[in-house]
């Protein structure tokens, strides 16, 4: 069975950028995506803040270029939905809805996020029949009608303004006090001046009602508790996003909202599993930061793969016993110990192999052998620890042990 070097889950900007870097690094790389390549960006009409895209490129056009770029470097694309993963262990397994299994040495999670639902009565029933999450798709169906937009972030306010080109009136339901919106200032000012937009403050949606389609929305004022029925032919919901991490529950460290936690190198709590893009717990979710995450994740994965390879070759598969020396270039004591070890290794050449590990560069290996201080010396026989010396190394004792080991 094929084992990929790198499997990227998700084909949005983070996944595609990772695909470009992975292919370029000559890794056997594949991107698994269930839908259209481009992720959330695919549903964006105009991208105006990605560097170089000031001439108003559409989301789909930009993403098509990225996908072609990744293909150009040899990255494969698999159209399938991931339903389960096995992340522990050297070879990771990815299972899809169709029942296929894919194997990889490293994984990049780039599954992104999806619109959050309101979870109020009527929302599910009228989906596609008055309840919409996509103004680009559905604005035209509401020409001359009155509609409601729920939310007050960038997406909500910008889509509300787009909708005014079609509809007669947009009522925006805002949870905050009068005049407070979460979107950027520029959009807020333009929306406040738009004669077709009316705001309902301190309000939330309680229910979506209708006969054949949506007829009205029940709005609750949070300050007074009063329920009002606002008649509307449609409701567009933009109340934020939720990460697509349901299939990762209990398998990786996440925050309370379900975003995957990672360090600066995009390393997650599991060795060989990296994360990129909107699915990561991060400050700014934009195309440019998704791309950046994708690049970082691949370079970190590359380092991981090299280290794993070196570990296997030099330590696990070594023909002679191994002297594994952990040292730290900033610590004089460990530099001195290393010099002595090099001398001994020279004398024992052929019978014993010295492998030096700079703990600054290779923290994972130090973690693997539970080495906390330097210098530390492990004697390995057939890949297993046979004796260990940490901190102050008594040369006599070490020489004795080595002699015992190599017989």
């Amino acid at each position: 069975m094929t084992v990929y070097d790198l499997l990227i889950l998700g084909g949005g900007p983070a996944g595609l950028a990772a695909g470009i870097y992975g292919g370029r690094a000559k890794f056997k790389t594949a991107v698994i995506e269930k839908g259209v390549l481009g992720g959330t960006v695919y549903t964006t009409r105009e991208i105006v803040n990605y560097p170089g895209s000031f001439k108003e490129v559409s989301g789909p056009d930009l993403m098509k270029e990225w996908a072609e770029h990744a293909k150009h470097f040899g990255t494969e694309f698999i159209k399938s939905e991931v339903v389960d993963v096995e992340l522990e262990g050297e070879i990771k397994i990815v299972k899809t809805k169709k029942g296929d299994e894919y194997r990889a040495k490293a994984i990049i999670l780039a599954t992104g996020s999806e619109p959050r639902m309101l979870n109020v009565p009527g929302e599910r029933k009228f989906r596609g029949d008055g309840v919409s999450y996509c103004a680009t798709c559905d604005a035209d169906f509401y020409s001359g009608l009155e509609i409601i937009v729920v939310g007050n972030g960038d997406a909500a306010i910008e889509e509300a303004m787009y909708l005014t080109r079609f509809v007669s009136k947009v009522t925006v339901i805002v949870i905050h006090d009068v005049g407070i919106v979460d979107c950027n200032k520029n959009s807020a000012e333009r929306a406040f001046e738009n004669p077709k937009i009316e705001f309902l403050w301190n309000s939330v949606v309680n229910e979506i009602k209708g006969a054949d389609g949506v007829d009205a929305v029940v709005v609750k004022n949070l300050k007074t508790g009063i329920l009002t029925e606002v008649s509307a032919s449609g409701i567009f919901i933009y109340v934020g996003m939720i990460p697509r991490t349901q299939f990762l529950q209990e398998k990786i460290k996440m925050d309370s909202r379900g975003y995957v936690l990672a360090n600066e190198k995009m390393e997650t709590s599991i060795d060989g599993v990296f994360v990129a893009g909107d699915v990561r717990d991060k400050y700014l979710r934009q195309v440019v930061t998704a791309a950046s995450d994708g690049a970082t994740a691949v370079v970190a994965a590359e380092r991981y793969l090299l280290e794993e390879e070196a570990f296997k070759e030099q330590i696990v598969a070594a023909k002679s016993p191994v002297l594994l020396a952990f040292w730290n270039p900033t610590d004089a004591k460990s530099i001195h110990a290393l010099a002595n070890l090099e001398k001994s290794a020279e004398e024992l050449s052929g019978k014993m192999k010295l492998v030096k590990v700079d703990v600054y560069k290779n923290q994972r290996l130090a973690k693997r052998y539970a080495v906390k201080n330097t210098p530390a010396v492990l004697l390995l026989k057939e890949g297993k620890v046979w004796a260990d010396f940490t901190g102050f190394i008594q040369e006599d004792a070490l020489t004795e042990k080595i002699a015992e080991l190599i017989g």
């Binding site: 008055g130 309840v131 798709c137």
Partner: protein, 122 residues
């Protein structure tokens, strides 16, 4: 020309021979007057979710061949049909049987949901 094609990907490059393209002139004949139940997908070029749903509809067209007629229509070209069928969003699946609309599924749906609607109606 080539430049234009590159920048405007055609979403509905529908190659499946099992799917009938509808216009306003053959719509009634293929749906209301059809002997077989007819599943119609309403979509448009600008709609990402439509493109996401399309491969599943193509699968259904193959699996239900001979039992259900599967059609699709580009809504932007036929605005009168939108009004007549009271469409409020795309993608939208309408199931016609014996001259009436017997099922509707709006928004992006899972295959299971579409199969369930088909099995209930036919």
């Amino acid at each position: 020309m080539e430049q234009e094609n590159r920048l405007k990907p055609k979403l509905f490059t529908m190659e499946s021979e099992n799917i009938i393209s509808l216009t306003d002139s053959n719509f009634d004949e293929e749906t209301y007057e059809s002997e077989l139940p007819a599943l119609v997908m309403f979509g448009a070029e600008r709609c990402a979710q439509c493109k996401e749903e399309l491969p599943m509809i193509e699968e259904i067209a193959g699996e239900y061949k001979g039992r259900v007629k599967v059609c699709w229509i580009e809504v932007d070209q036929y605005p009168t049909l939108q009004q007549r069928l009271r469409l409020r969003g795309i993608p939208n699946l309408l199931l016609f049987k014996d001259g009436a609309v017997e099922g509707r599924l709006g928004g992006l749906r899972e295959k299971d949901e579409v199969v369930e609607m088909l099995e209930n109606v036919i």
